[in-house]
Every structure is written in C-alpha cells, then in structure tokens.
Amino acid sequence: MTARARLAVFLAAAAVIAAFFTAECTDLPPFGTDSHPYGERAVAAALDRRTANVVSSVNFDIRAFDTLGEEPILFGTVLGATLLLRQARDERHRRAEAERVMPTTRLFGALLLPVTLVVGVYIVAHGQLSPGGGFQGGVVLATALHLAYVAADYRALKKLRPLAVLDVADSLAAASYSLIGLAGLIAGGAFLKNVLPLGTFNTITSGGTVPVLNAAVGVEVACGLIALLAHFLDQTIERTDPDQQRYGDT
C-alpha cells in the first residue's frame, strides 16, 4: 500500500471503531458507579485474611495465579534479552572508559544511592500493608543500583553488579513462586493456598504467604531488571557494531 492508501484505510476503519466505541461507552454503567460486586467480595476476603492492602491480597492471594503467569513474562524477557543481545560472531567487546563527572554529581549519586535502596526495601516490605509491593520496590532497587552509572560511570556500576549472582537469584526467585504454590498444594490441598499463619492485622508479618510471595517478586524484579538493563547497557557502551569494526580497525 502507498502511504496515502494506508492512511485512508486506517481513517475509515478508525471512524467506524470510534463510532462503535462511543456507542458502547453510553451502554456502560456510569463513571463512579456503586456496583462493584467482585471488588466488594475481594475486600471482604482480604480483610478475612488480615491483609491490609487489598490490592496486594488480590495479586498475591486471591488471584495469585495471575502473578504466577506474570512473573515468568519478566523472567522470559530477561532470558529473551540475554539471547537476543548476545555477542554475534562478528562483534567485539571493548572496555568502557572512565568518565569525568562533576564532583557534585558524584556526591549527589553517592548520597542518593543508599537512600534509594532503603526506600526500595521499605516499599517491598510494606507491600501487604501500604501501597507498594514487590514490583514497585523491585524497580526502585534496580534504579538505585543504576544511580552508580548515571552519577558516576559504567565501571562503577560493573563493580557494584555481580551479574552471575543476580542471574541465579532471578531464576531462583522465579522458581520460588511456583514452589510456594506447590507447598500450598502439599500442605493445604490447593495450589497457591495461603497456608502460613495469618498474624495480626496491619503488622509486617500479617497476611500469611502474601509477604513471602511479595518478597520473592521483589527479588525477581530487582535482579531481573538489573540483568535486563545490563544487556542494554552492554550493547550501548561496550559492544561495537559489526560494521564499525570493519572501518574502525583500519
């Protein structure tokens, strides 16, 4: 198709879809409706399991199987990036250089890094109580480590980042989610059953398996994202393109 024909096809189709979507929206219950049957059942069930953050309870207890399917997506992405961004036969590795950074930036990074780490751990650990959880905290933890790169240089990041250990930790955390599910099957007769003692409401140990799964996800997300970003950074900073090498070596 020519660009014009493509646009015409799209606009015609989009007009029809837009008309239908608008008509559909008028059939929807009004915005802000009071009727949320599933939501109300979930709130009651979560309080029954003494989990203060109902969203965490839905993610890690009531509909924990969704998260069981979601974590492998992240895990698979890390594996996929490992495969896709591997070193091709005609590529070379070169070492990153030391970079000059303004001392204030360096100081800023050095101060911010531990603060960010603490915030990350806090967000993972309080996932079943206040907003947050394994995923959000995991991203913060991964970001914290990369402050070493943005505020210093790639060499500093590499010193902080034991990639092999992180890869293994990522895999083990991914496996542990299924294993906790199996533990529920063996101890409670249903896969992913919340078999641990529920504790007292609104304390850090309440919710049974919810904080455990939360922590597993936190570890997986943090390790997985660091590994994922490592492959991207490696491509950008330390890998020469096949054609660059052809010209660059002469």
Binding site: A3, G32, L47, G76, L84, F201
Partner: protein, 115 residues
C-alpha cells in the same frame, strides 16, 4: 464527567494506532505501543472507580468507615503495567539487533519479507 473518561481511553488507543500506522521509525512505533497500552490502564481504573470512595488500603483506615474503589481492577492494571514494560524491553532488544543487520529502523525500508 460521565462517559468522557471512557472515551478518553478510546481516543488514546486510536491515536496510538494512528502513530503506529504512520510511523517511520520502529523506536517511535514501540513508544506508540506503550501509549496504546496506557489506554487499557485508563479504562480499567475508570471502570473500577467509585464516587467519593478511597483506596482499598487499610494501613491508615479503619475497615468499614469509608467506601473503597474496586481493588480487582487495580490488581489487573498492576499486572498490565509489568507486562507492558517487559514487552517494550523485548521489542527494543529486537530493534537494536535489526539496526545492526538492516542498517535502518524505518519500517518502510524493511523489504526482506514480502509476497
């Protein structure tokens, strides 16, 4: 207010599709895909909203004192955010390699597969 929030989700999806259809750069297309995905968050959370209600988080709230919004759609949106971020990463990795071999990221210049 009414249905405008829902319609906004439709608009975001269609404008992202417009960007995808007319894109001349794969990275831009992947960015548009991320925009398309934000329409799903928008719709899901709009569906779960309840007037004059608050978040279903009881760390600083006594259960039963205030109405809460639907926690299920929030869990769905949360899953969706993770899925979106990972798919973006995977597609970007493919783009990096494609650029190395094809020397272009313009969809119009990719002519290896046809017929």
């Amino acid at each position: 207010m009414g249905t405008w929030v829902f319609l906004a989700a439709g608009w975001v999806l269609l404008i992202a599709l417009y960007g995808l259809v007319t894109s001349r750069n794969l990275i831009h297309a992947i960015g548009c895909l991320a925009v398309a995905q934000s329409s799903t968050y928008l719709l899901l959370l709009a569906v779960g909203y309840r007037r004059e209600a608050t978040a279903p988080v009881y760390s600083d709230l006594t259960p039963g004192t205030r109405p809460v919004v639907d926690p299920v759609v929030q869990a769905l949106a949360l899953t969706d955010v993770v899925v979106g971020a990972t798919v973006t990463a995977l597609l970007l990795a493919l783009t990096i390699q494609l650029r190395k071999r094809h020397h272009t990221v313009d969809p119009q210049a990719l002519i290896g597969l046809k017929g």
